[in-house]
């Protein structure tokens, strides 16, 4: 495939558009993100744009491509994805506290934290499904949706287990809490790795 001209959008792949960029464009993008301008000049010397930017003749060089996600991860999606994690982690810790202390209040805490994780998990799953509906089920977006789905279903089963009285929650509740918390962490990692506004290539 012929390399497109600077600034041109390659529409052959609608879901993951490739955009070439020049040093100048890269600088502006990087500056907007508050990142350091690195390794983009032909002499290989790292310079921060504030102190020592590229020479004028370098400014229009095509230096790379940005993979443009068609709809960058929304702050909302990121927020619910992030909010789910500490709730499920907290449920795990509280279940462990009940397991080791027999103090019932820990089990009540675990119930509520699981319920909270399910609320945010449901919204995160919904966001992932909307992404798929818009951009197609491929690669990481499908992985994320499936991870969130499994997390949520197991979390819901865990909520039902936590509806049992006293020690009837154990040991199933603790085991499920561990699995759900780990799945929530993996979901968040996959989400934040994949669902970013643009990645250099």
């Amino acid at each position: 495939m012929a390399r497109p001209a600077a600034g041109e959008v390659n529409d052959a792949d609608a879901s993951m558009r490739l955009r070439t960029f020049t040093v100048d464009q890269a600088l502006r993008t990087c500056d907007a993100r508050g990142r350091e301008y690195m390794s983009l000049t032909h002499d290989g010397i790292q310079r921060s744009p504030a102190e020592n930017g590229p020479k004028p003749r370098e400014r229009n060089m095509v230096v790379g491509q940005i993979r443009m996600h068609p709809r960058p991860v929304g702050r909302f999606h990121a927020f619910v994805l992030a909010a789910m994690v500490p709730l499920f982690l907290g449920a795990w810790l509280c279940d462990f506290a009940y397991w080791s202390s027999h103090q019932i209040e820990w089990s009540n805490f675990a119930s509520w934290l699981t319920a909270g994780g399910l609320v945010f998990g449901a919204v995160a799953l919904l966001c992932a499904l909307v992404d798929i509906a818009r951009a197609g089920a491929r690669g990481a977006s499908l992985t994320l949706a499936l991870l969130l789905l499994v997390t949520w279903v197991l979390g819901f089963i865990n909520a039902l287990v936590h509806a049992r009285d006293a020690w009837a929650v154990m040991p199933t509740g603790l085991i499920l809490s561990v699995i759900v918390a780990l799945l929530a962490c993996v979901s968040a990692f996959v989400g934040f790795t994949h669902l970013r506004a643009g990645a250099m290539s």
Partner: protein, 441 residues
């Protein structure tokens, strides 16, 4: 199909898969086990993902009436009450009705919020009266033409007992005493507190009451503060037991313990023995654990929470207590699981030969079992002072063939003149069952 259409289809398919997965958990009908008498069959413990709930679907009585055996008739002698629970027949034939709704148990888990909303559908929506209503049939024609408030501003009154001129009322937080003179229709003064009763949380709030045959002691049944310790063991201090209270001083001692929810007490005529009906624990399956009728032994421990029906350990209690399990007494008579026995009264020969020797038990009816059980008043026949034989339906038809529930029996009282008084806290009615004149059942 277009690309966009395909994407939507995938998203919808995932959503549907979730919905189907969630819907795929429901239980079938429970096998009917013979669970009556001294040696009920106890199946394995079970608890699925969702409890098997069948909530009463209330409907008005209309032209229907509860059914009674041939030779008996039933009529409503009072309606429109504020949740009638227990009744007391006074020496002159007047009937006192305790009305109210108690309990202040906080909702601790998401489950409590969901379950309480579902269960509320099967109960009356009217406000509790927090009063005693007096019913009088002055001319003896079976119509109770006088319905008047005997005392109000009480706190969820439940158990009632009369000793001479002292009328005892077990509120949800205290045992109180009114002065009572024969024929009185209104309490002349506020009651005197005999003793405070355990009332923190009051998960099981009803305080049942019976007076010893000599009137020296009062027995108060105090229910547990949880189904099975899910509110913590510290909430169970002074709970799930029967107190013996000295009528003169108000001093008390634990008379018997391990009785999960002793919802009604009665003194057996002749022997003076204390008996109780007890509601056992839930969420171990449709046929566990049987509610029971038992004589209450002084100093006896009846299992809750550590075990049920003797030495059957309940694994939901942690830490466990093998010594208490070993000490647990096996109750006398199983009434069946989840029937929710809330009333007990010993019969008298005035009730007719077939129902002369035994005890009537009001069964409020199940909420966590399919098919539902209870929703009737049974007669447990006695011989030589002990239960003998299966329970017999005495008042039934509270739950109709159409699946609608029109009433839920609570307290039962035997009128020495030959009638059974039944409080119904769903239709807020007092029923009176009498022998049909001219018949000898």
């Amino acid at each position: 199909m277009t690309q966009a259409g395909m994407r939507c289809a995938i998203a919808i398919a995932i959503a549907i898969a979730v919905a189907c997965g969630l819907a795929g958990c429901s239980g079938g009908d429970a096998p009917d086990l013979a669970q009556f008498g001294a040696d009920p069959k106890l199946p394995e413990q079970e608890r699925g993902m969702l409890p098997n709930m069948t909530i009463a679907d209330p409907a008005p009585w209309g032209d229907r009436r509860p059914t009674v055996p041939p030779g008996y008739a039933i009529r409503a002698i009072a309606t429109g009450l504020g949740i009638p629970r227990q009744t007391l027949v006074l020496p002159n034939g007047d009937i006192l009705v305790a009305e109210g709704r108690g309990g202040s148990a906080p909702k601790l888990k998401p489950k409590d919020i969901v379950a309480s909303r579902i269960k509320a559908k099967g109960n009356t929506a009217v406000a509790g009266g927090n009063r005693l209503t007096l019913l009088r049939d002055a001319d003896g024609d079976g119509t109770y033409e006088l319905k008047t408030v005997f005392a109000d501003k009480l706190n969820a009154p439940y158990g009632l007992a009369l000793v001479g001129q002292a009328l005892y009322v077990a509120n949800q937080d205290a045992l109180v005493r009114f002065d009572y003179r024969d024929g009185q229709t209104r309490a002349v003064a506020a009651p005197t507190v005999v003793t405070a009763l355990p009332s923190a949380i009051n998960h099981h709030w009803t305080k049942s009451l019976a007076a010893s045959a000599d009137g020296q002691y009062l027995y108060v049944g105090i229910g547990s503060n949880s189904n099975i310790t899910e509110r913590g063991m510290t909430a169970e201090v002074d709970r799930a037991q029967v107190w013996q209270i000295d009528a003169a001083t108000g001093m008390h001692k634990s008379y018997a313990t391990g009785l999960r929810n002793p919802t009604a007490l009665a003194i057996q005529p002749g022997t003076g023995q204390l008996w109780a009906v007890v509601n056992e624990r839930d969420e171990l399956g449709p046929n566990l654990v049987p509610d029971y009728l038992t004589s209450v032994r002084e100093g006896g421990f009846y299992g809750w929470p550590y075990s049920y029906w003797g030495q059957n350990v309940d694994p939901r209690v942690m830490p466990q207590d093998p010594q208490k399990v070993a000490a647990a007494i096996v109750p006398d008579y199983s009434l069946g699981s989840h029937v929710a026995a809330l009333g007990v009264a010993f019969s008298s020969p005035a009730m007719g030969a077939k129902f002369a020797d035994g005890a009537f038990v009001g069964e409020h009816g199940s909420w966590n079992r399919s098919p539902p059980v209870g929703y009737k008043v049974v007669f447990v026949p006695f011989r030589d002072g002990r239960p003998a034989g299966d329970p017999v339906d005495f008042v039934a038809g509270f739950r109709g063939d159409d699946g609608k529930t029109r009433g839920r029996p609570v307290g039962v009282s035997v009128d020495p003149r030959g009638a059974l008084i039944v409080a119904d806290d769903l239709s807020n009615t007092i029923w009176r069952v009498t022998r049909t004149p001219g018949t000898t059942p």
